[in-house]
């Protein structure tokens, strides 16, 4: 394969796989944060007033 084809192969893979991985990572991080926030909520509301 030519050097140019190799470079574009690496760039294409980095953008598609990398982009997808980053976005899925962001989604997982948000899901985890949301779940943690939901888990904390009953503890706060159950405190005696």
């Amino acid at each position: 394969m030519t050097t140019g084809a190799w470079i574009m192969l690496v760039i294409g893979t980095l953008i598609t796989v990398g982009g997808l991985s980053i976005c899925i990572g962001i989604a997982f991080a948000h899901e985890r944060r949301n779940r943690a926030a939901v888990a904390e909520q009953p503890a706060e509301t159950s405190e005696p007033s």
Binding site: V17, L20, C23, A27
Partner: protein, 500 residues
């Protein structure tokens, strides 16, 4: 009485359905060829620029509209502004036309899948060409609307039966089906890719696909091809994304989902290029032909060149090699096509059900599937390929581009883009701001207008593909006019939806 809106079972179900809708036949048979002929690897630059400046912004807009308004395209536009409802119906009318001929293409895939079992298409190039002429190309004149092929009718019936079964119960079943129909073609493309990379000549094929020709970046045609590919590939302007997002609750992310859908779609396209060009490189070597002569796109690639290439494969799996790879290839096409096809029908069914909620979903779905099956028979006649080519050209190049343009104008300049942006940001994992507003208000409309004007100029200069003018008027302009008229009539018709 206000019915509670159905919901996706989970976020992955929605994302997979959206990816399934975006990833279709074009990823395998259009992207690799467009990339190879517009600068090879250099094409990736305009392609990703187009993804970021048109694909993702417009996808966020359509998702956001459906989610914020909790309605399919016509319903969402109606809730935004009463007189904008027409845009939604026009989009759905164009989608209906597209899914009618898309199902016909799937009928051809069924026929070729059957042919792959016995390699019925023959062993030599001439035999494959003759089988293609007998099955698909046939008379090649628009007046020959006769002689329906019964095998293709069976394929068409199978396609519509599958679509009906998948969507008549609602998006819960869609969410389960896409867990199979989205990964399946990806796995099959990987099988084709791994096999292709082992072949002699694969390197030349991949060089043709990826070797960058930087000078092509100076040509406007390259950039327009990239924007066209992104626009048509991401199911923008069909009303599908709006319908799918309407089953998401409010204050849930749509912007990151748009990024995931777009990158997923780009990854499948990029990967498919290797599966296609490794085999074409091998085929070129076997036939002593330059790769640019054997490379083709669309129907020519799938039903002529690829079967020939499959015929030339070395017998890695014994005497059944050609049969097995033939079946893998056409199952890949069918699994790529089915989720795009049912997403188009879902958009229409959701639109009708939102306006007339008292009519049951199975009845709407059944009526649409039977009607579309009957109308689709015209594409299985001797003149089928000609009419399909004309209707496809007008629906995509004018119908969809026009829908995308008026969507941008309606949201960006008439209804106001900031309230929608705020609604999207309520649950956003990636916030939309100035870049999104600039893309929707300026960049995307400018590009879509350019595409429309250039296509019109080309049309005036020379009739499309040399077809008779009467055929272009009937299959092209009349179809667009009919879609617009249906849009107006449905907008003026009073529905039974309860306005909250």
């Amino acid at each position: 009485m206000s019915e509670i809106r159905e919901r996706w079972a989970s976020r992955p179900a929605f994302v997979m359905a959206a990816i399934g809708s975006a990833v279709g036949l074009g990823n395998l048979w259009r992207f690799p060829y467009i990339a190879a002929t517009h600068g090879g690897g250099a094409f990736l630059i305009p392609y990703f620029v187009a993804v970021l400046t048109t694909g993702i912004p417009l996808m966020i807009l359509e998702y956001g509209l459906g989610q914020a308004m909790q309605g399919s395209a016509p319903s969402a536009f109606r809730r935004l502004r009463r007189r904008l409802e027409w845009i939604g119906w026009f989009a759905l009318a164009i989608s209906s036309v597209i899914c009618i001929y898309y199902a016909a293409v799937m009928a051809w895939c069924w026929r070729y899948l059957g042919a792959a079992v016995t390699c019925e298409w023959g062993a030599t190039t001439d035999e494959v060409g003759a089988f293609f002429d007998r099955t698909i190309a046939r008379a090649g004149t628009p007046a020959a609307v006769s002689n329906i092929n019964l095998w293709l009718v069976l394929g068409l019936a199978l396609t519509w039966a599958a679509i009906y079964w998948i969507i008549y119960k609602g998006v819960h079943r869609v969410g389960r089906i896409v867990m199979i129909t989205v990964p399946l073609p990806v796995v099959l493309i990987l099988v084709l890719l791994v096999n292709g990379l082992r072949l002699d000549g694969a390197t030349q094929g991949i060089n043709y696909y990826l070797n960058p020709t930087w000078a092509k970046l100076r040509e406007p045609a390259t950039w327009l091809a990239a924007y066209g590919q992104v626009f048509f590939s991401l199911t923008l302007g069909f009303g599908v994304l709006t319908a799918y997002a309407s089953y998401l609750p409010r204050r849930k992310d749509v912007s990151n989902n748009a990024f995931i859908t777009s990158f997923g779609n780009a990854l499948v396209s990029f990967m498919a290029g290797f599966a296609v060009f490794s085999v074409l490189g091998y085929f070129a070597l076997q036939t002593n032909a330059p790769i640019n002569e054997v490379a083709d796109a669309g129907i020519g690639l799938a039903f002529k060149v690829y079967p020939q290439a499959i015929n030339s494969l070395p017998p890695v799996l014994g005497s059944y090699t050609h049969h097995i790879f033939g079946m893998i290839f056409f199952i890949t096409l069918l699994s790529l096509g089915i989720d795009s096809a049912f997403s188009l029908v879902e958009a229409v069914v959701a639109g009708v059900h939102d306006k007339w909620p008292h009519v049951r979903r199975p009845a709407i779905t059944g009526l649409f599937c039977v009607g579309a099956f009957l109308l689709g028979l015209v594409f299985l006649t001797d003149a089928g390929l000609v009419w399909l080519d004309i209707v496809d050209h007008w629906s995509l190049e004018y119908g969809l581009v026009f829908v995308g343009l008026i969507e941008c104008i309606a949201i960006g300049w008439i209804a106001g883009i900031r309230p929608l942006g705020d609604a999207i940001n309520e649950g956003a994992e990636i916030r939309v701001g100035l870049w999104w507003r600039v893309c929707i208000k300026l960049i995307t409309p400018a590009l879509l207008i350019t595409m429309l004007v250039l296509n019109l100029i080309k049309e005036i200069g020379k009739p499309y593909s040399g077809y008779p003018v009467w055929a272009l008027i009937v299959g092209g302009w009349f179809v667009i006019f009919a879609a617009a008229t249906i849009g107006f009539i449905l907008t003026r018709t009073t529905g039974t939806e309860v306005v909250e």
